[in-house]
Structure formats: C-alpha cells, structure tokens
Symmetry: C2
Subunit: 405 residues, 2 copies
C-alpha cells in the first residue's frame, strides 16, 4: 500500500556523474543490489548522517572518508546493513572500499560506503568484491532509474526526483533518489538519499545546503518515530556543467536552493507516501509557536501518537486525540483557550473545546481524503514548523510483526 | 484480549469507608455507572493527577477541593469524561458535586469528582443528579467488586487488589481498584485508581506515599505512550481501624509502604495486562545507569518503539530493534561496546553486537512466553528503573481505528 501515484520522473543526466549497477546476489540471486556512483575529479560531497548512537559500520567509515579525502565513488549495497556487526563490520566495510579503490585506481578515502538491509549479519564481502568489476564496466550517466530500484529494500516502489534550471545562461541539472519505508528498519534498514547536481558549489555552501535542506525534508518526516542505524543523505556537486561556481554570496544561490529544496522534499515525501502500511499522507503544520523547539515538540507529539495515527487510518476526525497529544507535548504555560486546531480548512478546536461551528460531517469530509493537513495554531508567537507523516494501519502491524525471513 | 487470569481478589472491607453504586444511564441505560465513595469524618486523601495540560474539568475541581477541604465523598462516573468541555464542563462538575454535598449535608469542597468516558460531550448532569439518592441509599462497605466494574469503560475486565496486615497488634486493611485499557482513551478516557486503607496516616506521609508509590507503579506503565486528560490516582486513609497513626518516623511505615506498594503494582500491572489488544505483559528493566533520567529514557524509548512492540506481538526476538531504540534514547556518551541486553536470561547483545552464544532458538523460546522481561544493563552506574508495557497487535489498531459509536 502507498499513497499517491509514485511514478519515477524523467531523470536529467548529471554531467560528471555515472552510475554502475551490478548483481552481487547479497540476499537474492540475480537481484541488481550493488550501485556505484562515479564522480568526476573535483566533485564535492556533503551530507547528513543518522544521530542514532548505534550507527552502522559504513556510516562511521563514510563520515571518516568524507572528512579525509576527495570522494570519487559512492558504493551502495542493499540486502545487508552491516550494522550491529562490531569490529568485523568495520573491517568488512573497509575491505569493500579498498577493493573498489584498487580496481579504480583511487585512494581508499575516495570511496564512501553505504549499506542497507538486514542487520546483525556479516557483510558478504566476497560477493560484493566479485561484482565490483561488473559495476565499473556498466558505468552510464543514465543509470538513475535503475539505481532507484537498486537501493530499495522493502520499499514498494522506487523513489526519484529531478529538476533542471538555468544558471548564468547554462543549463544545470539536479537528480536524486531515496529509499526507506519506515524511519527505521533495523532488520531491513533503512533511509538513504543521494542527490546530485552538475553545478559547482563551494564546499561551505554545499554543507550548508545539505544540512539545511536535509533538516527541512528528511529530518521532518516520521513513519513510526524510530530513527535508524544507517540513515544517510548525500549531496553531490560535480561542477561539470560549466556554469560558474556557486559561492556564499552568489546571486544564483537562491534559485539553486529552491530547486534543490523541491527535490529534497519530493524524495522525503516519497518515503512517507511509501510508509509501511500507509494509506494517508499527513501534513502537520504548527504555527504561532514562540520557539522552533516547541513547534517541533507539538508537531512530533501529534505525528507519533498511535491514537492520532489509528484515527487517521480510520478517517475518524477524533479531535480529542489531537488535543490530548498537544497537551502532553511539554510546551510551558500553553494557553489552551487561545490555541486553534484545524483539519484542512475546518476548525476543530477553539476556546479550549470543540469549535462551535464544527460538525462531524465537515470533519469527516476532510478525513476521508487521502492527503490530510492538521494545522495547530498555538497563537503565542510567529514560529512555524511542518512535519510529514502517515497513518497507522493493520498493514503496519502485519509488515513489522512478520518474522524475519 | 488480555494477559493473565485477571480474577478479582477477595476485597477486605475498609473501616470508615462505604461504597454506593447506582445507575445514571449516562451512556447505556441500566448500566451501574455511578460510584460514590463515602469516607468517615477525619479521613485523609492524597493523590496524583495527570500532567497533561488539557486536563478535564473534574481533575481541576478535584485538585481544588482536595487543597481546600476535608474530603468526605468521591463521586465517580463512567460514560462521559467531561473533558474538552471548556467553561461549561467546570460548571457541570461543580453542579454534580454541589448536589451531592446538599444531599449528604457536607460542604461543596468535601466532594471530589472523577469522570471517565467519552470526551467533548457535555456531562449529562441531570442524569447524574437524579441517581445520587440511589447511590447514597446503597452505601455498603462491601461494594469494592461492584465498584471495580462500575468504573470500567472499555476495560475487558475489572481490576482490584487487596491486602491485610497487622499494625501494633491491630488488623488493618488495604483495598483498591483501577481502570484503564490505554494510557489515554480520549474518546473513552482514561486511567483511574482508588486505593484505601483504614489505618490513620499523617497527611505529609500520605502525600509522600501517594506520590512515591504512584511514581513506581502507575507512572511506570505505558500502553501507547499517550497520557490522558483525566488520569487520577487517589490514596485514602480513613483512620477508622483503631491502629495508631503512622507518622514520619513510625516503625510501622515500612510495613504499610510495602503492602501498599503491592496493591499499587498489582493495580497498575492489571491495566497493562488489559492493554488495548495486549497479548504480552512486558517488563523492561534498565540497570547500570548513571542517573535515573537516563534509565527512564532508555526504558521508555524501548517501551514506546512501535517496532519493538510489533516484534513482541510476533514473538520475534528482534534484538536489532531493541538495540536501535537504546541508541536513539539520547543517553550522552553511551558506550555501545559495554552495554548488554537480555531477553529473560538470554544475552542478546554484548560487545556492540549479537552475543556470541546467542541463538535464535534460545531467543525464540523466551519470546514465545506470555510474560517477557527485557533487561538492558548500561554498565555505567548503579541506578535501576523498571517500566511495564504490552505489545502492539492488530487488535490495538482495530480497537483504536473503530469509529466512535
């Protein structure tokens, strides 16, 4: 089950970036489960990683290589997360990177590893190493759609987004893919995102964009409140388009940021739409907050409430559950009589109770839609935050209660 | 569905306390939905209330009356929570208390109101008022079992506990009842507990016991992480047993505390065992913590993880989900290589990965039981905390997704 059409876009090729896909047979024989991104010399990479303290071996190593070297390859496997694997996991991840570095004639630190799949099982290094030449031989600048499928685990569909824009008379492109169907899938983990552009971006701007855009997209979605051991989202700028470099004060930065933001949001939303068992795509907007943290606390408390989520599944405009979630979000001195809660355009709560003009029929009409906005106006400041989530269905329980196979 | 046998105990009568039950027909005609506890003059009452900022009208009023007066009556109705009802709700609660005070010839502040049931609907004051004389006429010291049923909402079974002990050669009794089948049922709210003893207890000791015992029992259980608008747990000491008053330094205090603790825990556990859709009763023990807060953070993060809870439902020893929950609990500088995770007696995680001697068969054997202990030893201090929860089943979704009827 998933919300919305979910077709892949026509991906724009990124100058200076090629993709090679091969079958290592990590979990299923014949499955194209190995994706290698090859970046032209001079490419820059920035990223954000999971804050879970139990991060997987490839997360540790990708962070280290990113800090040390000039990235030339991203090595991504599905089928095994190389998480919870201790010292051996670190050695295995390094071994895969070293073998790709040897094949390609680059230093070890030029390879960033990413793994997703079952945790606690040793990474099948030999299988991956054996498939590396195939991946390198298959390098193609039009590999995005195949890569979107290649990095899937339990996703029901591939996820991608693409944009083109003009910078100083030069056409530049952005393409990206993501995967994830729960914020955490420790047994078949987890969220990954890879976004690339062929415009040149100054390193400090690239990291700023990766953090800022990741924060307002991948860090604002939640399926079940869990964070995973392998999450990573990388932003790549090859600089091969020929357009001028975007520096801190560049007049082209706003246009680039806007286009990137669209790609980030589309990829993040695609994960929510494909959330485990999802039947609704839910936007939770908190406005009128006095501070960002209280806006986020309210938004996430509502987004994580199993009672709100099951009501969403049932298309039940159960305003009491939303109100109770707001009440336990820990906002100091919240004025309950002042705040307002809306379902779409319909006011549910005003003056500390059900709005006078609210009727179940009006609430029901909004709730029966597939895309729903819950808007909570705290009416005590001017800070606004938005998070996205999905409902909580029987299928969520079924998917997550199935014994690991 | 519920875990364990769940039969009511033989309740010991509490000298100085009588219970009157009547049918107000609040939600279902003929249902015995009104419970009145009558306390002898000189009785003392202490309690803890929900910390949810959207607390219901009766919570506000009970708190105020408790601070102002000498409690003589507890007025409890099921079928309507009088929550989310604004100014009118306050007036309605006061009106019910006033009418009972008039009937009984006591001041308004001697009546403490408690409501549980549907929220957002006006309290049917007339129905309640009409049934008050029946409740007063039915006063009986053996009303505990009927009261346990009288305060139920969606509970599948009544909940009670009772103990007797000797204090200074005098037999004293403790009896208590509780209700709740989700930590929050905003549409059919919520948790209530009433525990009474006939020993005399000094006010400061009574409040200390109410807070301390409530904290280690009702404040350590969680069904779905939500807290409700109407939660209250009251501790009553009538002093009518004839045993000497228990003061701060009393040598009898440890024995009383121990007996009360058993009653509190039994009542709190009964709520978890009757948790919505529960098929497992789960104890989460965190030991070796450096501070109480980090022990609780770890315990609750595990207890609230939908992925851990669905794995428990599936009897799946999915240690990766527990490990990932521990990793996102926000404990600073957690040493992942030092901590250990046990399922019953079986070590799951050691040295940052799956324990060497762990086998799926051993994990599976523990997980297939109806009562399961997850023990997380952080190995960085000597603080210990325990919380209790249940699993997350299809029935949870069914129960909470059903449209309000």
């Amino acid at each position: 089950m998933a919300v919305g059409p979910g077709t892949l876009p026509q991906f724009a090729a990124i100058a200076g970036l090629r993709i090679g896909i091969a079958s290592a047979g990590i979990k299923k024989p014949g499955r194209k489960d190995l994706v290698v991104l090859e970046l032209a010399e001079g490419s820059r990479v920035a990223g954000i990683f999971t804050r879970n303290q139990f991060c997987a071996a490839p997360v540790h190593l990708a962070r280290r290589h990113l800090a040390e070297g000039q990235p030339r390859f991203l090595l991504i496997n599905t089928g095994n997360a190389n998480a919870g694997t201790g010292e051996r996991g670190m050695a295995d991840a390094a071994e895969c990177c070293q073998r790709l570095a040897d094949e390609a004639g680059v230093p070890l630190s030029a390879v960033l590893p990413f793994s997703t799949g079952v945790i606690g099982e040793p990474l099948p290094v030999a299988k991956i190493v054996k498939a590396l030449p195939d991946a390198l031989a298959a390098m193609d600048s039009n590999g995005w759609a195949a890569a979107a499928s290649g990095i899937m685990t339990t996703d029901t569909r591939p996820k991608g987004a693409s944009r083109e824009l003009m910078i100083d008379g030069q056409r530049v492109a952005i393409s990206g893919i993501s995967k994830g169907a729960g914020m955490i899938r420790p047994n078949m983990a987890t969220m990954l995102g890879f976004i690339a552009t062929d415009v040149a971006v100054a390193p400090e701007v690239l990291q700023q964009l990766a953090s800022e855009l990741g924060d307002m997209s991948f860090n604002r979605i939640t399926i079940d409140g869990d964070t995973s051991t392998n999450d990573a989202c990388m932003l790549i700028a090859t600089g091969a388009s020929g357009a001028p470099e975007i520096g801190v004060g560049s007049t082209h930065l706003p246009a680039l940021r806007a286009a990137l933001a669209e790609v980030y949001l589309e990829l993040a939303h695609a994960i929510v739409r494909d959330g485990e068992g999802a039947t609704k795509f839910v936007t939770i907007e908190v406005t009128g907050a006095a501070a960002q943290q209280e806006a986020l606390d309210v938004a996430y408390t509502v987004a994580h409430s199993p009672l709100v989520k099951t009501a969403l599944f049932a298309s039940d405009p159960n305003w009491g559950r939303i109100l109770a979630a707001v009440g336990r979000a820990g906002v100091p001195d919240l004025n309950l009589s002042a705040l307002e809660i809306y379902l779409g355009d319909v006011c549910l709560v005003r003056n500390g109770g059900r709005a006078e003009d609210y009727t179940e029929a009006r609430g029901q009409q909004v709730m029966s839609q597939e895309e729903i906005t819950i808007h909570i106006d705290l009416r005590r400041g001017d800070v606004k935050e938005t998070v996205w989530t999905c409902d909580f269905s029987h299928d969520y329980v079924t998917i997550n209660a199935e014994y690991r196979t």
